[in-house]
Amino acid sequence: MTEIPKALQEFKPNEASERTELQRRRDRWFRALCLAVGCSSIAILFLLLVSIAYQGSSSLNATFLSASHDPENPERAGMYPSIVGSVILCTLCAIISLPIGVAAAVYLEEFQPKNRWLLRLHGLVQLNIANLAGVPSVVYGLLGLTLFVYMFQLFGKLEQNQVSGIDFWGIQRYYQFVTADDLAVIFVPMDESKESTLRIESPRPAFDTNFNPIDLQIWDPATPQPTDPDVLSRTVRKGDVGALVEIYRWYYFRLPFGPSLLAAALTLSLVILPIIVIASQEALRAVPSSMREASAGMGATRWQTTQQVTLPAALPGVLTGAILAMGRAIGEAAPIFVVLGGNIAKRTGPEHLMDSCVTMPILIFAWADNPVEQYRQLAAAAIIVLVALLLVMNSVAIYLRGRS
């Protein structure tokens, strides 16, 4: 049995009961104070939301949700790219940090070593994770900038007009030519020379706009121009110069990452990793040890127990933590600002891993800075959308928690 806590030992009942009436009155006052403070804390926070909803609700319409930023006309401006950007970024983040975070949590909770030194290490990891959760997110941003964006310049710099960086997959390079009738473009695949431009003198394998192979015709401007529009659409002038154009697949991968979606996602993953680890640990801790013991009693190894008993039982808790961490990621502005810069003029969501990306907090930050009053209203409207999205995510979290 536990000892009587010190606080209880020092409590003097005599003093308390002597002036009962005074004590009761004080008690009532204290309760009123607590109620007042408690309600006002929540009232302040709701006041904030209501004032923003009031400001932004008039701008919230279909155009706003489907258009992109328009520097000329706030009425045509929208946040579609940022919604897509935030959702994709957040999903990538979860894909990257969830397995690592859960694995670390499983190791910390289920595989506590017996060796004294390993146990020390274990404690160190635990402490370290708590500390990581306290590191300001802007510092993670700086880490992302040097580690992911520039990669310490180990892999060279990214340059326009020439082949740069180290590519792995998902990219094709062509020379782009405008046809003789100025109506279409033709792509000639780049060869081994990797020159930045190509002067076309003789027929080469080529593709049309939709990347179907075509039979390329070369027209010497000294001779009469072909008249057949069909032929003309695959004809280029002799001596024309085509320049490098890069066509990316969504999985395009290169080093260094540059200010790209992937760099931002990796940086944000670092921000939310400690949160996921801590949440998963709590979920695993909540699984009763009797279940582990039962499993072990039937001859399961520790990993089998974890894999088939503990993890499934803790899954709702783990997912809840993961969703809440993603909520943090979607609202985080500082690290994204450091890694991607404040580019908001993108017309679409990110199209490949190395594409630039606009996110909702960055858009809000930029709009609220705009001198035009209407853009500031748009910022409020964007806040409504962001908070609504967070509510959706949190609702899923509640649902999952309800099932656990």
């Binding site: 204290f30 309760r31 590191v135 990993w303 502005a333």
Partner: protein, 318 residues
């Protein structure tokens, strides 16, 4: 809590085959898990290395001295481009950070703690079921939102109250950061208070104590280490808060105690420097890594302290 949990299918179906190969593959799996856990240490190491490497470009400059950095009271990295004349003394930024954080804590600590006491000791079940989740929903609001709250509502309010307030001032940023930290303090403190066994409360009542006696004289002291660690965590969160101060605290690094003045904080300076048109590669640019290093060290110490206190408290009640 887990009473309703179905028995996992694995337990029902008994499909375990703990053969030698399972044990061998288990070793691989454990190694992988361990790698992930150790990866987090690697992450810390990377952060420290990055900060040291980049700030070396700053500290190794002949125009920067460590003593000036640690004890100087003028910070002009954003104002002066002439390297001979720039002064890098971190105190204006540090004092700005401390002013904002101090004001924030003046709000977040008492309000958070009292709200927590209310929730754990006084509130009826029904009230708690509404208040707690709402407070926690509000904890998820992005910080950018609080920044605009500070600029658009708090700051004009303060100026109406007293015209001596600057448009951008430590107070409005501090209030916003305080509101931001409030749910954090409240939630963590409430956890600590509810962890105190009910038997203790019952004991106080049996001795004739009132609810206030219970809350202030017994429950709070018993949960003190948890409450303090909650406060420290909120403190380090406020130190590292970036977007609110970037928007509301102003951009003038002032070394003063006056909360009505502009006060650039360390995080505010980092963002301002990144936003600035100042060219990369200058000593002024690298000074941001020096500031980031200082910020990292301070928050690291605060969280470490919070964790150590928290650990002590865990030993008491488990």
């Amino acid at each position: 809590m887990n009473r309703g949990l179905p028995i996992p299918s694995a337990l029902e179906q008994k499909r375990y085959r703990p053969t030698g190969s399972a044990r061998r593959s288990e070793r691989v799996v454990v190694a992988l898990l361990m790698a992930c856990a150790l990866g987090t240490i690697a992450l810390s190491v990377l952060i420290v290395l990055m900060l040291l490497r980049e700030s070396w470009s700053f500290f190794s400059s002949p125009n920067v001295s460590l003593t000036q950095f640690l004890f100087g009271t003028r910070w002009t990295a954003l104002e002066v481009r002439d390297l001979e004349k720039v002064e890098f003394g971190i105190w204006p930024l540090l004092s700005g950070t401390l002013r904002v954080t101090g004001i924030a804590m003046l709000i977040a600590w008492p309000m958070g703690l009292i709200t927590a006491i209310y929730l754990s000791e006084f509130a009826s079940n029904r009230v708690r079921k509404i208040l707690k989740p709402s407070l926690e929903i509000l904890a998820g609001i992005p910080t950018v939102v609080f920044g605009y709250f500070a600029v658009l509502l708090i700051s004009p309010g303060l100026q109406w109250f007293s015209p001596s307030f600057d448009t951008f001032n430590a107070t409005s940023a501090g209030i916003a950061v305080g509101i931001l930290c409030l749910p954090l303090v409240c939630s963590l403190a409430e956890d600590a208070l509810s962890a105190v066994p009910t038997s203790l409360r019952e004991a106080v009542y049996s001795l004739g104590g009132t609810r206030m006696n219970t809350a202030l004289n017994v429950v709070l002291p018993s949960a003190l280490s948890g409450v303090i660690s909650a406060m420290l965590l909120a403190f380090s969160r406020a130190l590292g808060e970036t977007m609110v101060v970037a928007l509301a605290a102003g951009t003038l690094a002032t070394f003063t105690l006056d909360p009505r003045q502009q006060s650039q904080t360390m995080t505010g300076f980092i963002v301002e420097m990144l936003k600035s048109d100042l060219e990369y590669g200058t000593v002024q640019y690298y000074s941001l890594f020096g500031v980031a290093l200082a910020l990292f060290v301070i928050t690291f110490v605060m969280t470490l302290l919070g964790q150590l206190i928290r650990r002590r408290y865990r030993e008491v009640y488990q």
